[in-house]
């Protein structure tokens, strides 16, 4: 029955693919769209202002009160781990840590260790880190726009930034990191009107880089950062020197058809050793899409409803986030009573990240990115269909939520220079493996520079894959 179903769906989509015209999709992005209050449009402050994160005493006291007085959830069912979601047996331990042991003032100092700023782009105050180390005279300073996702934040990059910006005499470049907070997240303003989806955010970030004086730059992204980065590379190919991602995905119709075809006949489509990561219609990938994507479904349709509970209950917010971080890090964590959360992260790391939502009270507005991006309007923009010639390099962790082979990626990224597959790591790669992550990005930048130096003519030829 499963095989028959696959055959039917693959046939339908092949019909779909063959029948669809390859016309130029509509391209309606407004570079001057205004996302703030209408009245601010004519008195816009374009200065770049230093910013400091502050954990106010009042906020801390209120948070502690809520944590210490949370209503006890019902006990979990017998004999399960995280199969029904966050196992409430471990909730008290986490909330007690957050209320009594998490050192708020120390963490505030830690979070301010990198210079941060805000500047108003299209009506929104955008918060960002901008940081580099002292380079050698012979080194070119290259800007790297690095983009987080949901439920992440710039906090994900704190351990990797020192390595990304490390100055190595043997390299002819040194990296300046620009790590913005997505609009509606953390300390960035949220849009006041509908329409700010991933492609519109790409415009905001392109404008941000212009404001900071960068005509050309590199882009790195994971999760939403990957989609926004891909969008920037598509809409502004002359600005992006190279695109690195740890969630490489082509959303073209061709890629979808190839995926379905590949689920029946894997070998033309994907390396047999990696076939298991990509079989969408059978086994654990399909189940994962159903079992793991409930959050995406509700956030894409009723973000404001769910946001009310998450705004009001820090325990609720913690459970929601940590469950995602658990299964997003290793799929087998689903069967562990503690969700394996302490295996690769410290509690302070994860609470720092949650504080980036709790303190600025931005959980509801962060949910809205799903509703604004997963809709017909975004689809109609057709930007995901348009291939980009920007040189691209990807890294694929073993427990990332989705995998596409180079064949599929090249339906979107025509100059995919190489891909790296590692047999470890999860969705939050920069946070989990900061050194490996930084090295891969630095190697990618070196490769991009090489590619440009050689004239930058891609004929789509892939360099040998890295597997390690």
């Amino acid at each position: 029955m499963g095989g028959l179903f696959r055959l039917v769906v693959a046939s339908c989509l092949t019909i779909e693919l063959l029948a669809s015209q390859n016309t130029e999709p509509a391209y309606k992005l407004d570079p001057n769209a205004w996302w703030g209050p209408e009245c601010t449009k004519y008195h816009n402050d374009t200065s770049i202002r230093p910013f400091e994160i502050v954990f106010h005493d009042k906020m801390i006291a209120d948070l502690r009160y809520r944590l210490n007085n949370h209503r006890k959830p019902v006990p979990p069912l017998e004999g399960i781990g995280f199969e029904y979601g966050f196992n409430s047996n471990i909730l008290d331990g986490w909330l007690q840590y957050w209320a009594e042991e998490y050192p708020f003032k120390e963490r505030e100092i830690f979070l301010n260790k990198y210079p941060q700023y805000v500047t108003n782009i299209q009506g929104l105050d955008i918060h960002f880190i901008k940081y580099r180390q002292k380079a050698y005279a012979h080194q070119e300073i290259v800007p790297l726009l690095i983009l987080h996702g949901w439920p992440g934040s710039v906090r994900e990059f704190y351990e990797t930034i020192p390595h990304l910006t490390s100055v190595n005499k043997s390299r002819d470049f040194a990296v300046e990191v620009i790590a913005p907070t997505l609009p509606g997240f953390g300390y960035s303003d949220a849009a006041v009107r509908p329409g700010l989806g991933m492609h519109e955010i790409a415009v905001v970030f392109s404008n941000l880089m212009k404001r900071l004086g960068y005509k050309k730059y590199y882009v790195q992204g994971g999760d939403w950062g990957a989609f926004i980065g891909s969008s920037i590379a598509t809409s502004f190919p002359n600005e992006v020197l190279g695109y690195h991602t740890n969630l490489g995905l082509s959303l073209t119709q061709k890629a979808l058809s190839l995926t379905l075809f590949g689920s029946l006949f894997p070998s033309p489509v994907v390396d047999p050793a990696l076939a298991d990561r990509t079989d969408l219609l059978s086994g654990h990938i399909r189940d994962a899409m159903i079992t793991e994507f409930g959050y995406m479904h509700i956030q894409a349709t009723k973000p404001d409803t769910l946001g009310i509970a998450m705004t009001d209950s820090p325990g609720g917010l913690l459970a929601y986030f940590l469950q995602l971080i658990s299964t997003g890090t290793r799929s087998y964590f689903l069967n562990l009573e503690d969700g394996g959360i302490d295996k690769y992260y410290t509690r302070d790391q994860l609470l720092d990240n949650i504080m980036m939502y709790w303190a600025p009270n931005s959980i509801t507005t962060s949910f809205r990115i799903y509703a604004e991006s997963l809709n017909r309007r975004t689809l109609a923009l057709g930007i995901s269909e348009i291939p980009t010639p920007v040189p691209t390099i990807t890294i694929h962790a073993s427990d990332e939520i989705a995998y596409q082979s180079p064949l599929l990626l090249r339906t979107k990224f025509t100059n995919l220079l190489y891909t790296t597959n590692i047999d470890t790591g999860g969705h939050f790669l920069a946070l989990e493996m900061p050194i490996l992550f930084a090295n891969d990005v630095l190697n990618a930048i070196a490769e991009f520079r090489n590619w440009h130096a050689k004239g930058g003519h891609g004929n789509g030829e892939l360099l040998p894959n890295n597997n390690g």
Binding site: E16, R71, E78, G85, P194, T301, K302, D312, S313
Partner: protein, 462 residues
């Protein structure tokens, strides 16, 4: 033919092949585990099967804590400009509700209101099951018929409070009235929740069959909406000999023949649905898009109920928004485009807060959501309950804005003795609460038809 039509045609052919394949191999009826036990192991063999009176209490400690949380909620994000309920519950409409609940809702009065009917508990399969039981006040010569009323999510026994007096009193034109038994589903309200996985539809059906027998009703009528309708469907599938008649206001079947007929109807609607009702189910793409937009909660609860349960347990504002969003948009589809969600349309604040209190004071939101996970589990789906027909006479009451509509031609795939349907030009998902007179009248009508049918189909026990 358009591309989508091609897809449908291919899908219909595939389903046809599958149906033929299955017809050649008749499926085996599912077997329930007779040793299923849902409470603590220690209780086995020592449970109290007596029927104990029960009173609902709104404890002062709970009320004071509730008021504090409502009054001290964190500031909520304002809605986007020009938006009503399209992104979910509009926070601009929230404050009046929170203020009402904290400062105007009369807790003591409402507690009395809840206790106007006699409540009981009895232990079944390890769980204390709560139920209301009201015997009719009628003159001699009026037959008393047992009627099991089943609520769903995010409802409760409260949904039936206006209908109960109508069902338990004399109704001119009928020579019978009902003794109503209105349980809280396991894991909901005042019924215990299972302590181990596996309490899916058929096992809840079994618990309610035992309940009715324990109350002395060897055979009985059932009425259900939402999950209540699904439980009723399981009961008439597994225990057809016990059920005299089956009334549903959320009738929907996924029997393979039903699916096939629905797909064929997408090509030629007149084959399976009356012209003026075709728009309630076609075009399929429009209705599937609607379901996709509305079923995020279902997806989340079917997979991670315990996660979202933490916040809904902790924040009454969060619980209110989460639950009232459904009362808003499932009552009228167009209420999604009203700034207050149309919540004042036919529900008083009092009624809806009553229902919320059932979830809040029993702290049952998490266990209520687990029902979704249990019913989407592989274990349950392998039982393939939908593939079996039921001979029990059935009647469907179909409100205009109910989430899913299936015409008689489709419903008969599962219920060959579908006697009739009442199609309303009014009403939504929470029909008993919204239109209690219409609801009650239709139940009388249906049971009258069931009785008539039985008298001419006496091969089944009467």
């Amino acid at each position: 033919m358009s591309r989508f039509t091609t897809v449908l045609a291919v899908a219909a052919i595939a389903v046809a092949f599958w149906y033929i394949f299955n017809w050649l191999q008749p499926p085996k009826p599912p077997q329930l585990d007779p040793n299923a036990w849902w409470g603590p192991i220690e209780l086995k063999g020592r449970e109290d099967i007596s029927i104990r009176p029960f009173e609902i209490k709104f404890e002062k400690k709970v009320i004071d804590d509730l008021k504090y949380r409502l009054k001290n909620h964190r500031p909520f994000a304002p809605p986007l400009e020009g938006v009503t309920f399209e992104y979910g519950f509009n926070t601009a409409a929230l404050e009046p509700w929170l203020k009402y609940w904290a400062e105007e809702y009369k807790f003591a009065d409402r507690e009395k209101f809840f206790n106007q009917f006699p409540h009981f508990k009895t232990s079944i399969k390890g769980l204390d099951i709560h139920f209301i039981r009201v015997k009719p006040q009628v003159s001699a010569g009026v037959q008393t018929l047992p009627l099991l009323l089943l609520h769903g999510w995010p409802g409760s026994v409260r949904e039936f409070y206006e209908a109960i007096p109508l069902l338990t009193s004399q109704n001119s034109g009928y020579d019978f009235a009902f003794e109503v038994i209105v349980p809280s589903l396991p894991g909901y309200g005042f019924s215990d929740a299972a302590v181990r996985p596996g309490l899916s539809l058929p096992y809840v059906a079994d618990i309610f069959r035992i309940l009715m027998k324990r109350l002395g009703h060897d055979k009985f009528y059932i009425q259900g909406g939402d999950w209540g309708a699904a439980i009723a469907s399981a009961m008439v599938t597994l225990f057809p000999e016990d059920v005299l008649g089956h009334h549903s206001n959320s009738a929907v079947t996924q029997h393979p023949h039903a699916l096939l007929r629905t797909l064929l109807g997408a090509l030629i609607p007149s084959l399976i649905v009356e012209d003026h009702l075709a728009e309630r189910m076609y075009p399929l793409s429009k209705h599937l898009a609607y379901l996709l937009e509305e079923f995020g909660y279902f997806h989340l609860q079917a997979t991670k109920p315990d996660t979202v349960g933490v916040s809904l347990t902790d924040s009454p504002s969060g619980l209110l928004a989460y639950i009232l969003e459904k009362f808003a948009v499932w009552t009228r589809k167009e209420h999604k485009f009203k700034s207050d969600g149309g919540l004042g349309f036919r529900f008083s604040k009092e009624k809806l807060i009553d229902n919320l209190m059932v979830y809040w004071i029993t702290n049952s939101i998490t266990s209520s959501m687990r029902f979704y996970s249990e019913n989407m589990s592989n274990k349950f789906r392998e039982m393939n309950l939908e593939a079996f027909t039921s001979p029990v006479p059935t009647w469907a009451l179909q409100a205009r804005d109910e989430l899913v509509y299936q015409p008689p031609a489709v419903l008969r795939a599962k219920y060959p003795n579908l006697l009739n349907v009442t199609v309303l030009d009014d009403g939504g998902h929470f029909l008993a609460l919204e239109l209690p007179e219409v609801f009650a009248e239709d139940v009388f009508k249906a049971v009258h038809a069931f009785k008539k049918w039985r008298s001419t189909h006496s091969k089944t026990d009467h």
